[in-house]
Symmetry: D2
Subunit: 288 residues, 4 copies
């Protein structure tokens, strides 16, 4: 649904109870919000309710700053909801971490520059200088922060400072070949998106295409997930695959994999930017 | 969501207005219905609202026969809804029409016999005797109704009689190679499901694999749709594809196509049986 | 390529050397064989050459029984080939092992009965009686061989006897829920085809759909492979996938998975029947 | 297969006859060429043989300039071959035509700049100025050639001059929204690659996503093909698809379509650059 004015986006997660959808949509209707999209999901195994609703604010009769407290008081608290409220006019700020591979970076920046992503990209951080020219080409600040096992803790602190300075909301690891420490991840819970170049949980860890070739699989994949302290085990946002054959060498697997990686990452980033992801129990709900 | 008792399934289609979801879910909650699934869609271009909701009847405090009149009075009429109410304990009755190709028939009957489909299959009708042994093997009545251009009108009347006698709710054309007349289709509006062996609207009409081979496509497909009086132009329920190459002859296209056809048809039939399809403007909504 | 007469199918595997393709095709041409299909592959990493060639025998001027010794003497031995020679008129004999799930069995039998598979199915073996009616329905002998940890060795001997009695060439495990012993597998090296209900190597072992649901993957898959003594680690013949979402429960994963399983298994069996598979280094080459 | 030195790439098309593969591979072996890749196809319906073979030249004992005349004399003429000989060290020169949509252009230029494509891109031509900044960003000459029905013939002459000046070998229409005249196409037979934003032959012509939305398809696609004088009817090089649903508007179809378009075009361009395409009877063979 196309909409040019400001919208509110509410994501809810709570124990399932009768009438939640009715209460939430009533709240919006009563205040003259025009609902643009609503999607909900009930996990009956765990009795958990999730919902995303987006509405126009042009005729909404609550001032923006009163929506959250009002909603919290009348619905959030009584229903024991975990909820977030965002506005489409708040453009999220995204940092990109890269190493040497360029395909995901080019793809993200092309989407950013062409206006496909409603996002700001203030900074690109890398442990190698390789992609500095690409950052320059797109007019984005590039910060080189080399990492060694000895300097890692210290260098990550620098990274966090830079992210704070740029008021970064979330981080995209666009084939960044360093494992982030638990301390770093704690600073950005459910805010770091990684692309792993395999169909997780198959071939977690390093060199997945070598492993895939050795195992003789007939299909390769890529997985975008939120980073948690458990390597390659965070909640999966998106996956896709590509058919291969015995003709493929490790080299052509890597080449074919790049296309899957960049598309999968791009979709995951778009889902995050448009606030369509919700994480629970190490899984994601991807709303319509 | 698994449920063993009887459930009500309500499908709604009406002009979009504030608060419909709230009103409908309130109605169910007020009468102590436990909602198992709800999915809605708004077509903002046409300002049309669609919804499917399914709830348990075990604690519902309206008798089955009063649900429809009550709902109609309080919600259906005021909101100008087109709506249908079904109960899961009403097992739909499905007739299968076939000609000579057996792959879709075997697949449907295997699903039926193994209990995958919540359906009854009282009769198989064919313009050829070829598949009579398959019907017998599965213990289903087989009626041979040959068709020529001259006898078509008369023979279709016989078919309709047979369908009525068996109280058939919907018809599946499992590679039935006769075009049904408009009169026949009128008797079963949105109740005849066809599988067309191409990725419609490409290669409508006869011999789609020959046409696909000649055109040199790299992917073939199959399309399941509700039959309308406009040949191969009815609302599409499901489509899928299979990758091919220059190595494929018409013969191998036909062979590879069979697998796509039967899976696509099976999914469409399942969507219909579980009342997850809704037709409007010659398109379908497929609810979750 | 369609051909109704008898054909010879030669599969070759050897160290790569100049001129092998030329020598082999010359051999066939010299003896007036009309080549219907030829496909080769060179693994440059390991310097290994593989080839499959099929030719018509109607004008071939070597008697059938002399082809193998002649080829072996003039080409097989000098080039250190591992090779097999088959004739299309030799119909392979396939046994099917099942437990309780019926979808793969129905699918294989429908293909067999409709003539899609150029194969004989003399016997179905099961550790449960559940599917005996399906075997009867298709007129195939069904042998019930229950297995407990204590009786396994003994019962497998019985199975091997039955397979020998029926001159079975290869075995298809159509969701057979017993792990075959190493002794059994030794009897049928590269002759036992399994379908594993996950995208291997992800979710090897028991209950893959439960594991997939818990991990929150966005795509499920199935893998058909030759059985080796290493559980779920044999050479992969075919894989395919199906997209899922957070709406899917374990139950719907299982249901959606069935369709992928049966199609993947069917393709793998067809590749085996038509002698298009070649195993080396625990991987497969699938010829055109 | 990786190879850093110069290689020869021979593509052959001729009536099928006994021993062609043997003769061609013998020719290469005799002159000490190390074959890196060989793939052939026989169209038995039309009795046509096609082959692509690539070999290393480091030890080849014919000078480069003598390969073509020697091959032609001893094999090309006697076997009535149509054939082409290329060398991997000859980098093809590619021009890109664009209008306003940027996604394919970014994708092609990222592949070019990162070294994925073994190609030179001397010039980008457009009937709009919109993408001039992208061309500049990647350091490539941009020529603005507006087209009106009146100026078309004249402007196309200018384009051809520019292409000649830059010694362009082939042209990629990266969502170029002008139909090229027959005269233009005659200058570049099988040398102009287009991306059409639908799954051809479905939705040929203008506004395919609008048509797809109206028809209610469940899958959209993209098709890359060689341009012929018959609009959207040239030989298909590559196709791929993306699953959609009733939630998709024309706007989201367009957005989802972009990803398919750029990947399909990129694969087709790569196949052309590596001389893996062969056109006959308005179809393509895509060699391994």
């Amino acid at each position: 649904m196309e909409n040019n004015g400001n919208t509110a986006i509410l994501k809810i997660h709570c124990p399932d109870q009768s009438g939640i959808v009715a209460r939430v949509t009533d709240f919006i209707n009563l205040h003259h919000g025009n609902i643009l999209a609503v999607d909900q999901h009930v996990d009956h195994d765990d009795n958990l309710f999730s919902m995303r609703v987006e509405w126009e604010l042009s005729k909404f009769n609550l001032p923006k700053e009163e929506i959250a407290p009002t909603f919290g008081k009348f619905l959030g608290e009584p229903y024991q909801m975990k909820w977030t409220l965002n506005f489409s006019e708040e453009i999220p700020r995204m940092a990109i971490f890269v190493s040497k591979a360029s395909h995901c970076l080019y793809d993200l920046l092309a989407r950013y520059q062409s206006g496909e992503y409603n996002v700001e990209v203030p900074v690109i951080i890398s442990n190698h200088k390789t992609l500095e020219p690409v950052a320059k080409q797109f007019g984005i600040e590039f910060v080189y922060i080399p990492i060694t096992p000895e300097t890692k803790a210290e260098q990550e602190k620098k990274e966090i400072e830079i992210l704070r300075k740029h008021k970064v909301d979330f981080v995209v690891l666009a084939r960044y070949m360093q494992v982030l420490s638990k301390d770093f991840i704690k600073e950005f819970p459910e805010k770091v998106i990684n692309i792993h170049h395999s169909f997780l949980p198959a071939f977690a860890g390093a060199k997945p295409y070598h492993a895939a070739h050795k195992r003789g699989v007939k299909i390769i994949g890529a997985t975008s997930h939120y980073v948690t302290s458990d390597l390659d085990a965070g909640p999966i946002i998106e996956q896709d695959i590509n058919r291969i054959s015995h003709h493929d060498s490790v080299k052509t697997l890597i080449q074919k994999g790049k296309d899957v990686e960049k598309i999968v990452l791009a979709r995951a980033v778009q889902a995050h930017i448009t606030r369509k992801t919700l994480v629970y129990k190490n899984r994601t709900i991807i709303f319509n």
